[in-house]
Symmetry: C2
Subunit: 369 residues, 2 copies
C-alpha cells in the first residue's frame, strides 16, 4: 500500500484486502518485533526463565509443536453494530470470539482481559446489560475476567461502545492442531449450519423482518473442541472458526497454509432455510457470511464418523446455560468435503457444476463483529 492510500472498510473484512493491510503495513513495520503472523492465537513458551522465544507462526500456518508449559494468547476487538441483536450482543461476542480463537489452537481458555472504549453519553443501563451478558458467556465458557480497562471518548468519537478482549489459555500436552495440518485424504467437517450470525446482525441493523427470526450462533466452542480433541487426539489436524470472510475465507486459509486443495460439496454444507432465504434476498453469498459459534475441523478420514458423533454430543457444559441456547444448530455437524493434492478450493455446486471458491476480497457486511 502507498502511504497516501486510504484505509477502507473493505480492509477490515477478513479477506484479501485485510491480509494485504496486515502484511504490508503492520507485519512489515513490526519486523522482528513481531513473533509471527499475528492473525491467529499465538502459542508462547513461558515455562522456566521466561526467556525462551515463543513459537508463534512465523508465516501463516507454520507448524507449531505443542509441548508442556505452552500458553496460548490472542486478542480481538468488537465493533458490532447494533450492540444487541437476536441471539446475542457485543458482550457475548467479545467473550466467545476470544475463547474461540484460543480453542482453535487446541488451547483450554482460562482468562480474558476486558477493555471498554465508551462514547460519552452511553447509558449506564446499556453497559450493565452488556456486562451481564459478558458474565453469562464467561460462565458458559468456564473462563474468568482477569484484568480490564475503561476509556471514555467524547460524543462523536466512537460509536456507542467498542470492546477488546485478549485471552490466555493452556495448550494440553500432545495437542497439535494448526492451520498447516491438512493432508490429502482428510475429511472436512463443519460443526453446524452457517451464516446465522451475519444474517441476525444485518437484519437487526437494517430493520428487516423475515418469517422465521434468525438468531446469531454466538457461542463458546471450547467444550466442543475439548470433546473432539479428547476423543480423536492427533487425528484432529486443523481447527478454524469461519468468522469474518465466512466459510470461504476459512477453507482458503487452511488450503493455502497446508499446501493442499479442497473439494467441497455445496449441497452438504448445512444452512438453515431462513438463512438461505435471507441471504438470497440480501444478495449475499452464504459461504462468505460470518459465524461466531461454528468451526471447521479437518480430521483423518478414518475418524469422520467418530468426529460427527462427538460433535453431535457437543462438549460438556461447565455451567448450566443461563439463556436459551442460540446455538441450536451447533449439534448438526456435517462432512462437507475432502482434502486433495493440489491447491485452491473447488465447490461442487448443487447444480452439478464446479467452480473455484475464492478467498473473499473485501467486505460484504461491515461491523458484523
Amino acid at each position: 500500500m502507498q502511504d497516501s492510500e486510504k484505509i477502507l472498510l473493505a480492509h477490515g473484512g477478513g479477506g484479501e484486502l485485510t491480509a494485504r493491510l496486515v502484511s504490508e503495513v503492520i507485519l512489515a513495520g513490526l519486523g522482528d518485533a513481531a513473533l509471527g503472523s499475528l492473525d491467529d492465537a499465538a502459542v508462547l513458551q513461558l515455562a522456566g526463565s521466561g526467556t525462551s522465544p515463543g513459537t508463534g507462526m512465523t508465516r501463516r500456518g507454520a507448524q507449531d509443536k505443542a509441548s508442556r508449559g505452552q500458553v496460548a494468547f490472542t486478542t480481538d476487538s468488537f465493533v458490532v453494530k447494533p450492540l444487541f441483536f437476536p441471539g446475542g450482543d457485543i458482550g457475548r461476542l467479545a467473550v466467545c470470539g476470544t475463547v474461540n480463537d484460543l480453542a482453535m489452537r487446541g488451547a483450554r481458555p482460562l482468562y480474558l482481559s476486558l477493555a471498554f472504549i465508551i462514547e460519552e453519553g452511553l447509558e449506564a443501563g446499556v453497559l450493565r446489560r452488556v456486562v451481564a451478558s459478558i458474565a453469562a458467556a464467561a460462565r458458559e465458557a468456564g473462563v474468568r475476567i482477569a484484568t480490564g480497562d475503561t476509556k471514555v471518548v467524547e460524543r462523536g468519537s466512537a460509536d456507542g461502545l467498542f470492546i477488546n478482549t485478549a485471552g490466555v489459555g493452556v495448550v494440553p500436552d500432545g495437542v497439535e492442531v494448526c492451520l498447516a495440518g491438512a493432508r490429502a485424504g482428510d475429511a472436512v467437517i463443519v460443526s453446524g449450519p452457517i451464516g446465522n450470525h451475519a444474517i441476525a446482525v444485518l437484519a437487526q441493523r437494517e430493520g428487516l423482518r423475515f418469517e422465521t427470526e434468525v438468531e446469531s450462533d454466538a457461542a463458546p466452542l471450547n467444550h466442543a473442541v475439548a470433546a473432539l480433541v479428547g476423543g480423536l487426539g492427533s487425528d484432529v489436524h486443523v481447527l478454524n472458526d469461519p468468522t469474518r470472510g465466512g466459510l470461504a475465507a476459512s477453507l482458503n486459509t487452511i488450503a493455502d497454509a497446508s499446501g493442499v486443495a479442497m473439494e467441497i460439496d455445496e449441497q452438504s454444507v448445512p444452512v438453515d432455510s431462513a438463512v438461505a432465504f435471507a441471504a438470497e434476498m440480501l444478495g449475499l453469498d452464504v459461504l462468505t457470511l460470518a459465524n461466531e459459534g461454528k468451526f471447521v475441523a479437518v480430521v483423518a478420514e478414518s475418524t469422520r464418523e467418530s468426529a460427527l458423533a462427538l460433535l453431535r454430543k457437543g462438549g460438556p457444559r461447565r455451567a448450566a446455560p443461563l439463556r436459551k441456547s442460540a446455538s441450536g444448530g451447533s449439534h448438526r455437524p456435517a462432512v462437507i468435503g475432502r482434502v486433495k493434492k493440489g491447491k485452491g478450493v473447488t465447490l461442487l455446486t448443487s447444480g452439478g457444476g464446479r467452480r473455484v471458491l475464492e478467498m473473499p476480497y473485501g467486505e460484504d457486511s461491515p461491523r458484523i463483529c
Copy 2:
C-alpha cells in the same frame, strides 16, 4: 449508578468516578466471572494443569504471593488525541502503557497483543508511522508482539485510530510487590519529574507553544524496575505508575490499599520548570497530570539511598535506544515523602502549610492516553 445515568468523559479520568463506574457497573455485573478488581495487572497461576485459580486482587490492593509459574496479564486501550505529540505517539504509548502495567507488578514483560480499530479514510502512511513506533518501543522494552487484530469502522464512528494492547509477563520467584505493601516508616520515591506527558499532549492538541517544548516522558519502565527490584529485593514494597489521575491518584490508591497515611513534601516533588509554567497557564494541578514513564516506589526507609542510586543508573537497556530519549528526566529520582500510620495523603506545601491531597474526582484532560 442509575441505569438511565449517562456515562461522562469524567468517568474515564482515572479518579473517583472511574472507580465508581468500574465497581458499580462492571465488577458488580461480572460477579464471580471476574477474578479480581480488574484495575491492575492480574497475576495468574497457569503452571501444571492450568486449573488452579489465579490470585487476582480480590479487592484493590489485596496481597498476592508470588511463586514459581506465575504469569502477569494486563490490558489497556489507547485513545490519545492527537495521535502524534512531542516525545511520542499513540504507538509508543500503547507499548509503554502495557509494559509498565506489567512492570508495576514486578513482572518481566514478554509478549504483547496489538489490536487496531481504524476509522475508514485513515492514510496507510499514518498507520505505518504508528507501527514503526510500536516496533521501536517494543525493541526498547525487549518485548515481542505475539498476536493481533484489525477492525475498520466507517467514517465518523471512531476518531482516526484506537489501539488496544494486552500484555503477558512472568513474575520472577520471590518478587512480591503490590499496592497493599506500604508500611509506616517507608520512604516514598518518584522516579523522575512529573507532568510532562499530559502537558506535551495538551499543548499539541490545543496548539499552544511554550518557550521550552515539553516532551512526553513515554518510556518502558521495566528495565528500571528490574534494576530496583534486583538490587533491593523484598525491600521494594509498592510500585505504581501515575498515569490517569497523576501522582495524586497514585498516592491515594497506595495509601488506601495499604491502610496507611502518607506525608508528601511538595517542594521535593520533581517538576520541570517548563511543565510547572505550562500547568499554571492552563490552570491544572501538576499533581493530577498523567505520566507515561514514571513510577512511584515505596521502599524500606533504610534502603532509600540505594534506591535513588539504582534509579539514577536506570535499568540495563536491552537494545540501543532508537530515538532521542524522551525520558531525560527519568534519571532524576527523588524521595518525596514518607508513610505514616493513619489514613489519607497530606501535602506539606511549599508555603509551609498542610493540605489534604485528594483523589481526583473526574477528568481534567480527556484523551491523554
